[in-house]
Amino acid sequence: MGYSLSQLRELEAESIHIIREVAAEMQRPCLLFSGGKDSVVMSVLAAKAFAPARIPFPFMHVDTGLNFPEVIEFRDRRAAELGVEMVVASVPEAMARGLVREEPNGSRNRIQSPVLLEAVEKHKFDALFGGARRDEEKARAKERVFSFRDEFGQWDPKNQRPELWNLYNGRVFPGENIRVFPLSNWTELDTWQYIETENIELPSLYYAAEREVVERDGMLYAVNEFVPLKDGETSSVRSVRYRTMGDANLTAAVESEADTNEKVVAEIAASRLTERGATRGDDKVSEAAMEDRKKEGYF
């Protein structure tokens, strides 16, 4: 009997179930959409979940002002194609108002959280879809699919709600919200296999091309307006691609010849480094960097 789903179709079915459950039970959900590959996959699943109707909730992006311009352009085009409202919460604008201040190291990772929380309050969102996967990082591996946050957006990892079967409990009181992770059980390889199978369009930075790069702390950064060459540094042109899309000043590229989905899948399958370990300067701060940020309301 052939009544068995392949792992990709089983993951797809689970994600669609989660997305529909939130749309049915929550008052005002919103999907966090950066134009990065996980959020793009989430947008594809959301479109499938409600077809032929439109996605019944808006998208939101907390824009640090340090994103790759190409990704921002992609974000807006994709949202327009899907016919959904694109809410943008701007970190530079919040800095200008004095809500947050940039940290000395130039990272705007942590100060995204207050900007996110302000936007959640303003728009009265009670559920936020995030594209995080449990294979990304140790603290994420511990998080529920429906992750309860208090009025300060705080995650309490020692006191999570039991989560049984697919009977999700999204009940919240006013001011509280639920972060929902439909891709929890996907791995980086699953995501790329799905992108290949479904022929999903992504920003071209995910594919290898000759780019001008500079080496810092063993990582390769593209030279651009966010990463100018410092005194004494020299750049070189290499074939590189991005495995993640964080801030342009902190996200490193990897050497790669993979310029198609098929080649990326082959490369990921053979990779011996996690995507965050390979490319994210911001996660290297401490063993518990992600847990600490999540407790403060970060994704």
Binding site: S6, A13, K138, A141, K142, P162, R272
Partner: protein, 415 residues
């Protein structure tokens, strides 16, 4: 394409669950270099004699500090045969509810037993919970064999002890494997230390475990999750019922009965994520269209007219209570969720509490406290379409939620 096996680890604190997962990932080459480097560095900083593979899964600061697992960690790995999702669950009795979370979606459970200690209360509690949760395959890993000189007699005695206990568990298939997670014997590779053992290694067993037959393809149950009605000109007349098929196989042309309304219709089309489908089966997320306009909304269920679930307001539940701030007593009102609907439920009777060690029923019990397992009766504010949990893991499951805190306080299994 591969299929997917979801399994949970269970057992007492310090039985070496996290170490076993680390070993499974490491020996199957599923550990990334940067993850291993971080763990090696952390072990060195603490002055450990060996690289502590448990650090691969203990992701919370409090867990690393205390050297225990507090909450479920999900890990993923694939071999050329299968893809695996592991729910690494805590062994500490205080965190039993997190073990239940991890095991609720599992098809198999690894029960770890420390060879020096034998079968303890937690081994029994977790085996009972796993069998209640409908996990059909228990793999009892008798761990730390290196610390009992790889003694076959010790292993045999534990197997006998566990078999005596498990004869009272229903519907489970049990495999015993002697292992050393620390050294690696019989995890991925056989090793040289237990030539007397002729069974499979743990990984081989997990790769070849047959679970497809566990799914219910007989009883059509389709809980409506969301009604799709596009507000656009080209799809003005479209009305589709979205949901995940709980069990059974559905095809266009099939007659269906809607519950609770009792109205009948015929399936006119089924659409899946990839487009129109000639048939759809349990586990698939689809949109079903009907030939007639009938009263059907979220929480209702489509079934076959000649194969109906019970439509009832009175539930007889096996139950695990998970709230430390209050006990379950008769008269308590709680919110209840079953498939895609919420209602309220009043506890009418605590029938018994189970004694974990003996599996005997204490019928004098008046309440259930944190981590207690028992049987209760509840009356629900509206009729629910239910099946027995042993027949259907979707339509037979409920959660109970405290409306004052919104916390999930119990898992229930319809009898």
């Amino acid at each position: 394409m591969h299929d997917l096996l979801r399994f949970a680890t269970a057992g007492s604190v310090d039985d070496g669950k996290s170490t076993l997962i680390g070993r499974l990932l490491y020996d199957s080459k599923s550990i990334f270099v940067d993850q291993y480097d971080a763990v090696e560095a952390a072990s060195q900083r603490r002055g450990d004699d060996y690289v502590d593979l448990a650090l691969l899964t203990d992701g919370l600061r409090a867990e690393r500090e205390q050297g225990i697992t507090i909450d479920v960690a999900y890990r993923y790995f694939a071999t050329p045969v299968r893809k695996f999702i592991i729910a690494d669950t805590p062994g500490h009795p205080q965190y039993t509810r997190n073990m239940v979370t991890g095991a609720s979606t599992a098809e198999a459970a690894l029960i770890l037993v420390d060879a020096r200690k034998g079968v303890v209360e937690q081994s029994r509690r977790h085996s009972l919970l796993a069998s209640m949760l409908g996990v059909r395959h228990l793999v009892v890993c008798i761990n730390k064999m290196d610390l009992v000189a790889y003694s076959e007699e010790t292993y045999d005695a534990i197997v006998q002890d566990f078999t005596d206990f498990a004869s009272r568990l229903q519907g489970v298939e049990i495999e015993f494997i002697p292992i050393s997670a620390l050294v690696g014997d019989n995890v991925v590779d056989r090793g040289e230390n237990m030539r007397w053992y002729n069974g499979p290694t743990l990984l081989y067993h997990l790769e070849h475990l047959h679970v497809a037959g566990d799914r219910n393809l007989t009883d059509v149950r389709f809980p409506v999750q969301y009604v799709i009605r596009p507000q656009s000109n080209q799809n003005r007349d479209f009305r589709g019922y979205a949901g995940t098929i709980a069990s059974g196989v559905m095809r266009p042309g099939d007659p269906v009965l809607a519950l609770p309304s009792g109205m009948t219709s015929t399936i006119s089309a089924i659409d899946g994520p990839t487009g129109p489908l000639p048939e759809a089966y349990s586990g698939m997320s689809v949109v079903v269209r009907l030939a007639d306009e009938i009263d059907l909304s979220r929480g209702d269920m489509l079934v076959r007219p000649n194969n109906k679930p019970d439509l009832t307001q009175d539930l007889d539940l096996g139950l695990c209570w998970m709230d430390e701030t209050q006990t379950l007593v008769p008269g308590k009102m709680l919110a209840i969720k079953q498939t895609t609907q919420w209602a309220r439920a009043k506890v009418t009777e605590v029938v018994y509490r189970m004694d974990i060690n003996t599996l005997r029923r204490d019928e004098t019990a008046q309440e259930l406290a944190l981590n207690d397992i028992g049987r209760v009766k509840v009356r629900v504010t509206k009729p629910l379409a239910v099946d027995a949990y042993r027949d259907n893991r979707v339509t037979g499951a409920v959660i109970l939620v405290d409306e004052a805190t919104n916390r999930t306080v119990a898992a229930g299994f319809i009898r």
